[in-house]
Amino acid sequence: MAVPVAEVLPPALPSGDLAAVGRLSGARRLLRSLEIAAPAAVLLVLLFSCFIWPIVYPVPKPTGGSILGAGLPMWSPGHIFGTDTVGNDIMSRILYGGRVSFEVAAAVQVIGLVVGGLLGMVAGYAGRAVEAVLMRTLDVFIAFPSLVLVLAIVDSLGQSEVNVIWALSAFSIPAFARVARAATLQVRDQPFVVAARLSSVKTWRILAGHIAPNLLPQLLTFSLLGAGVTIILEGALDFLGYGIPDPAASWGKMIASGQAMLSVSPGLVIVPSIFLFVTVVALNMLGDGLRAVWGVR
């Protein structure tokens, strides 16, 4: 039997008595930190493996393998994950390919955060004409289905890792701008910003000192979630043949080229897929965990 909301749920716990008290019990607290620590640890391991490990340990080269060693199955000596159709060691392709995936994701997010964040913040703070012009311009980019837009850019610029980054940025900049603008609108009318204006603080100082620091938590969590999306999009590009040129690898590329051999050596697809999956899940979990800690919506 339903009990009226007004009776069971107090509208909001009052400040003072209860708000001063964290409602988390000991076990919950551990879980909360685990929510952040676990994915962070996973990501650190992956990053270490992709970027540092090959420098330290002699890993076979990801390209230029010999046909003689092609098609080796998993757990072969010297090739943990086996080799692909042209004899490249899959493990090292995973590691070097991971580099590419992470580089692209990081670059796209950074460009998006800096450029998009700046544009969004200025648009949100200035309002009126400036906001209208900026946001409508960015709307043009959002209006395109993301993949179509990205494909068009790569097609016109040519295939390379750098161009892929530019193309994906065209997608991330408007997204960041939107988030930054919305967050700026919330902060802009807070009394402490009004107080700063009342003290004739210069606008750039207000933006840099008051607005931007209060935007960062939201933008950072957004970037973590966006990183996962970027990796997948990059994979989609490879799948369609518009991604990174041969013979370089990325996880998406490996999945794309491996799908033809799915029945024969499923490992070619499964292994990079697992890495991709784990990475994206870890990024998402980390984003969610940080969002909970920072109280970002």
Partner: protein
């Protein structure tokens, strides 16, 4: 302290919360009773434990709270009660009116259904009867044109009107005790007076007991029969209203009284006020919690905590050196 006929009998209530810093002792042994039809005010500042006590009486504390002691309401023991029993208790025996009427009401639901929902939860009435009863309740809370208001949304009403609706919902289950947690704090002065008058009139009509929780001492003085003053999770003074204000015992109560800006005061006069802040509830220090700030504190105050005792007829206090009384107890 507890008569056999008491409607609400709270005995040594203790509530602790676990938090990042450690344990917060929000309520440290509170005991009092409420007779049927009585008007009691619980006064305290933020952190005094008054709201937590009220929530404990309704069974509304979060699961991370540890409650011990006894709360007997209408003969039923509430501490350690199951959720089902609490649900029967809430609304039917005890109802609560919260501070912010803007958030107590569902903004997407019309007022009428919010009241009938509460009615049908507790009383075996069909839809038509519940509708009638709801309109009657709206009339009882002096909402003009109740039949029309039944179909309106909360945002179409003013703050005072919304609070009346909240009171109507609270009364839907015909409770024997009404808890008003800062029910008028968010309202204008003039509306506050109207709502308080309404509550008292309803009390007379329906025989409901009223427990008002507030930080406003003057409000308590104007409307309550008995006043409990809480500080740092404990009741430090309890007496009939007139007795409390005419014959203040606890230095904390006296400090509260003195600190209220009064209409009789001269302009530009400094208010007599003590410094400092309420203590941190995560640590229990020996001695009286108010001793660090008390202008009358002496050595024994810092060593042993005074208990709440009935030192004079109808007047309890927890102090070794109360104001204006001679020998230390």
């Amino acid at each position: 302290m507890s008569g056999g006929t008491a409607l609400l009998d709270v005995s040594d209530l203790r509530v602790t919360f676990r938090s990042h810093g450690g344990v917060v002792n929000a309520v440290q042994g509170v005991s009092f009773s409420v007779e049927p039809g009585q008007t009691v005010a619980i006064i305290g500042e933020s952190g005094s434990g008054k709201t937590v006590s009220a929530y404990a009486m309704m069974g509304l504390l979060p699961r991370s709270a540890q409650v011990s002691g006894s709360i007997r309401c209408n003969g039923v023991e509430l501490v350690g009660c199951g959720e089902k029993q609490l649900r029967d208790h809430r609304g039917r025996i005890v109802a609560m009116v919260f501070q912010d009427p803007g958030r107590s009401l569902n903004p997407t639901m019309r007022i009428g259904p919010q009241i009938t929902e509460a009615i049908r939860c507790h009383l075996p009435l069909d839809r038509a009867q519940a509708h009638e009863r709801a309109v009657e309740l709206l009339r009882m809370v002096r909402l003009p044109t109740p039949e029309r208001r039944f179909y309106e949304y909360p945002h179409q009403l003013s703050g005072g009107m919304r609070q009346r609706v909240v009171i109507a919902i609270a009364l839907a289950g015909e409770p024997r005790l009404l808890l008003a947690d800062e029910a008028t704090t968010a309202l204008d002065v003039t509306t506050q007076a109207q709502i308080m008058d309404l509550l008292l009139d309803l009390q007379q009509e329906l025989g409901t007991a009223l427990v008002m929780i507030s930080h406003d001492l003057a409000l308590a003085a104007s409307y309550a029969e008995e006043v409990l003053v809480m500080y740092a999770g404990k009741v430090v003074e309890r007496a009939a209203t007139r007795e409390l204000f005419g014959n203040v015992a606890m230095p904390y109560t006296r400090a509260l009284l003195k600190a209220i800006p009064r209409v009789e005061q001269e302009p530009h006069e400094l208010l007599p006020v003590i410094g400092g802040r309420p203590p941190d509830l995560s640590t229990i220090v020996p001695g009286c919690s108010f001793a660090p700030r008390c202008p009358d504190a002496q050595d024994d105050c810092r060593q042993e905590q005074p208990q709440l005792e009935q030192h004079e007829s109808g007047h309890w206090w927890a102090c070794w050196h109360p104001c204006g009384k001679e020998a230390a107890q």
